[in-house]
Point group: C2
Chain length 545, copies 2
């Protein structure tokens, strides 16, 4: 039987569903409603178009209404807002935004991919701040671009240090605008833990950005040309980008009685069906299960939206395919750095009550050090000490970061543990990697913890230990101490350690550290095998500092 | 009990074993013999040092005899050749190459990591070709570098299109030398199948290299300044690099009666023990099992040598760790291109009698097309049509190639099939990937074959089909035909297809193709769903051409 399928939202999730539906059936009637002017545009490219990295506006349009309609033989109605779902009648009410006309359209299946919209809190002065803009779609993009062209702002404030805030800060900075980034938390980019995000903080400040952490906006004054912070700080600005997060576009779904989650997301089952089996929902608007910990979460990214769109199309055609949850793999460019992560971070694990995890930090080269162009990758791996299960990974560096996170994300999906990472046979030639790839190395270092070859402590624990009289040895060469060192440490370079064991107390734990953790590990092995109790500072000076 | 361990060979496998042994036990006596002057050098960097990419010779030395001896408290004897293994006495006879002195040294465990040496066939004139050099170690490197400095060769011939031959050809070319590369087979780089290697052939020729395929050297004349080929061609040259492969350094092992394989490799079990349980062997000298097909093979690469070294050290300390076989993941830079592969190629599968595999070729962008700098990746995936088991993958392109092969290598180790590749949640932001990563896309395209959504034929099948009266439709836009087209094709652009179905025969298979395979797939779906029998040309014009 010929099916009539209505899709609400014509971008990442919606357009993907529509395309796949047509490939499954030539006869079905597919109507895609999009309230904006544009369908199938590159949301993710918007900040880079504003920054001039993407030069041509037309590049943002992956498909046009005309092109997609003809290629896929579908009925695409832009500037058409679905304003009501009438579940009993299986119709939607649609408002033609060109004419104001309202009409009903019936469906056999309804797919909701309405996305999310920027959170706009009711801060005093926000209504009169006419230099305050948000970024979600092409219209917003045009507005920001026009504002910049017309007003040539010298100073901008970006509120919110999430992906979009950080990308906007970079792109405005590249336009020559002096940017202040304000973030309420003690770090930008929530998927990273603090010590990892700190690498980015440093680099952004070096680039000339002003970074204000642990502070929020109290009010806007003078039509938004003055931003007053909770701390009392006042910032003059010509432009404000508000990017403190998104909230799901779930009013339509809520109004017709579909089940909605605690933070406003549409609830779906593993087949992506809402509480009404004729209605599917996908993308930024839905709640998903966290692939690692199985708990509900919401991860507004493009991969899930695209993946879910294809699954829903299949399920409408009877496939009963499951969406297996979202890992949250993500990546962002921050000036010269790439920051990527997958799975859960420490903050998440603690929040859900998992505390008995282990962490390692390593700082290997992106490729063999003797081949030019290698740079350091800071790679953090979080895992269960008993099973070796990988909880998550974070990496930051100038090259090869996305590769290592993709490999670990794949390992997770393959059910591999940290004990399997040394066994990944990855491609090696000097321009690309080392004979032991950083992911192999992370596997070795993690395995050593599981196999009790070494005990480690974390960067945030060592100061207290030294304060309480802990014995700390810096095993770097004397020349390296000018990079900075931990107060209270005795310097015994690794090559001298075996001959100077008599300088060390037998009745006390010896804490050791080096630059990145490797020599500390070697020292810890020497000490342990010589009958001392030794503990290595994970990640060395690099992570500590 | 204190163990005495002797290691033969002080570079990739040997040095790794030694380092790990020390980390497992402070008391064992470790003696590492190396017949060359240098231990622990960067074999893989040698071509790039010759080419001047690596500027400083000292960069090649990862560890020195002095440094490693003191850091790891071991007895490292360079310029010391082990000339005999006396298994009953558990001693080796060693020749001090400085003094000529020969002495015996006893062992509890012996680890052989003697590597391999360049194959030097007895071609007429080779003995008097004093401009003919091979490349394996630092001495060879110095010889080539000195030859170039002293003789300023204008022309060079590289014999052999394997990794080392290709890297040397590139590096000599970059020095301004006119290079001719001669290869006996119809393609360079055996890990790739012909149509993939062809991409590299084209690019090398464009760079100005002379590439001679399917021809071998018959003789050298005039002290190597003239190379005569089997075809009768004569080439004048100032320098010859011979790089037609390596043979295992297994004479020591053979002489003392250890089991040796059909191509001269040392045979080991899964614990890397030779036929004598006190003797382990690793690296280029051993036969391993192919991870994909389980058959014996030999894969002389650095990752296996390093991995095996660590496993052997563990096993000497009672761990009973298994080496699980070698996938053969590899990567090589060829001018602006990166070429990487993992697992088995078609040639290998055919050779071992597997013929019922499926192949797909796709040509996605390295990252989102709207973000600058994206380039095309040619990605080939070979898999079992029934189970979806991944046999192997090959990729060639300018960016992001190593990442995709590493992801697929990881998927293989995780036991994932092509049906799981769409579900890999990989990091996406415009500078790095697309919302559907190329690996996801390969998974979708392969899944469609398994699920019989589309039937495909390969680039080498289509000409014959058209010859025999097959009906072929080119679904590209008329403007694209100037890129080249397949003779005998009718042009019906995809957007017009639905309205022109009446032009197509109902009683005949319709073969379709486009530029890269995507629109061909869309056309095939339209045709199939409209009751035609349709077959898509896998990889489109791009792979065919
Ligand atoms: C600036 C920016 C940068 C981003 N960068 C990245 C990135 O680098 N990587 C990444 O993974 N993700 C990124 N994202 C997130 C990604 O774009 C989203 O996760 C994805 O687009 C979600 O798909 P969706 O279909 O749920 O929503 P959308 O793609 O937003 O589509 C929803 C559409 O539905 C329409 N709609 C809503 N309600 C109605 C209605 N009632 N009637 C008709 N139409 C309606 C909306 O107008 C909208 O166009 C970025 C997002 C933005 C805004
Ligand atoms: C030019 C070049 C480029 C390469 N590029 C790459 C690459 O990009 N990627 C990659 O994965 N692999 C590459 N390789 C291969 C890689 O270097 C080898 O696979 C790896 O070194 C093998 O390790 P091994 O320990 O078995 O042998 P080796 O590292 O060669 O070490 C063996 C050592 O044993 C010594 N020895 C032998 N017999 C005796 C004896 N009787 N007594 C004392 N000493 C002895 C030899 O002198 C030698 O130094 C390259 C190799 C070369 C030559
Ligand atoms: C582009 C868009 C309309 C989706 O279209 P789509 O047709 O599903 O996706 P693609 O063009 O990538 O093509 C994928 C299809 O082609 C097939 N395909 C791709 N390359 C192929 C090849 N070389 N040979 C054969 N088939 C191929 C795939 O198998 C897949 O088909 P399937 O789903 O039936 O298996 C939708 O993703 C979109 O609107 N994107 C822009 C918005 C967005 O994603 N924003 C967030 C990121 S900025
Ligand atoms: C360098 C060489 C001597 C091996 O030394 P190695 O000590 O095994 O290797 P690395 O220096 O990479 O260190 C790895 C060890 O340090 C540990 N480690 C690495 N980084 C660490 C960190 N940040 N914190 C704690 N431990 C760390 C690893 O766990 C591993 O120890 P383990 O094996 O006991 O688990 C040997 O590989 C060699 O000679 N290489 C050059 C030749 C070569 O490989 N050629 C082919 C490629 S060009
Ligand atoms: Ca610990
Ligand atoms: Ca086929």
């Amino acid at each position: 039987m010929k099916k009539k399928i209505i899709i609400v939202g014509g971008v990442a999730g919606g357009a993907t569903t529509a395309a796949r539906l047509r490939r499954l059936d030539e006869d079905s009637q597919i109507i895609m409603f999009e309230k904006g002017e544009h369908i199938s545009f590159a949301n993710c490219g918007l900040p880079y178009y504003i920054g001039g990295v993407i030069e041509k506006r037309e590049k943002l349009f992956v498909q046009t209404v005309e092109g997609m309609s003809s290629k896929f033989n579908m009925d695409i109605r832009n500037l058409s807002e679905v304003i009501k779902i009438n579940r009993e009648k299986k119709t939607v009410s649609v408002k033609n935004l060109r004419t104001g006309e309202i009409y009903d359209e019936s469906y056999d299946y309804l797919v909701l991919s309405p996305g999310a919209r920027p959170v706009i809190p009711s801060i005093p002065g926000i209504d009169t701040a006419n230099n305050l803009l948000t970024l979600r779609n092409v219209k917003d993009t045009d507005a920001i671009k026009n504002f910049i062209d017309d007003n040539k702002p010298e100073k901008a404030v970006v509120i919110g240090g999430g992906f979009i805030g950080v990308e906007m800060a970079e792109n405005l900075h590249e336009l020559g605008i002096k940017v202040t980034l304000i973030e309420m938390a003690n770090q930008i980019l929530a998927p990273f833990d603090f010590e990892m995000a700190s690498i980015l903080h440093k680099s952004m400040i070096e680039k000339g950005l002003k970074l204000i952490l642990e502070d929020g906006v109290q009010s806007f004054e003078n039509n938004g040309t003055k931003v007053i912070l909770n701390s009392g700080k006042e910032i003059d600005t010509d432009l404000i980008i508000l990017a403190i997060g998104v909230r799901p576009e779930s009013e339509l779904a809520a109004d017709c009685g579909l089940e909605i989650g605690p933070r406003g997301h549409i609830i779906v089952n593993e087949y992506l069906e809402t509480s009404d089996p004729s209605i599917y929902a996908i993308g930024d608007a839905i709640e998903v299960l966290d692939y690692i910990n199985g708990k509900p979460t919401a991860i507004p990214l493009a991969w899930p939206a695209n993946r879910q769109g294809r699954i829903v199309a299949n399920n409408i055609y009877g496939k009963k395919e499951k969406y297996k949850g979202t890992l949250g793999t993500s990546v962002v460019k921050v000036f010269d750095f790439t920051a990527a992560s997958t799975g859960n971070n420490e903050k998440t694990l603690k929040r859900i009550g998992i505390h008995d995890y282990e962490v390692i930090h390593i700082h290997p080269g992106s490729h063999a050090g003797y081949y030019p162009g290698a740079s350091q990758i800071s790679l953090k791996l979080i895992f269960d000490k008993k099973s070796g299960k990988i909880y998550g990974a974070q990496a930051i560096g100038k090259n090869g970061v996305d590769k290592r996170i993709d490999v670990i994300a794949t390992a997770i999906k393959g059910g591999l543990t940290v004990l399997d990472l040394p066994d990944l046979e990855l491609a090696y030639a000097p321009p690309y990697s080392s004979a032991k790839d950083p992911v192999n190395m992370a596997g070795y270092v993690a395995s050593n913890i599981i196999e009790n070859a070494v005990e480690t402590i974390q960067w945030y624990e060592i100061d207290k230990i030294v304060e309480n009289g802990g014995f700390l040895v810096d095993v770097r060469n004397p020349g390296e101490l000018k990079l900075g060192f931990i107060k209270g440490a005795v310097n015994i370079p690794l090559p001298e350690l075996r001959n100077r064991l008599n300088e060390l107390p037998k009745d006390q734990t010896i804490y050791v550290y080096c630059q990145v953790g490797l020599r500390g590990y070697l020292a810890a092995r020497i000490l342990t095998l010589n009958g001392f109790k030794a503990v290595n500072l994970d990640g060395g000076w690099k992570t500590y500092s």
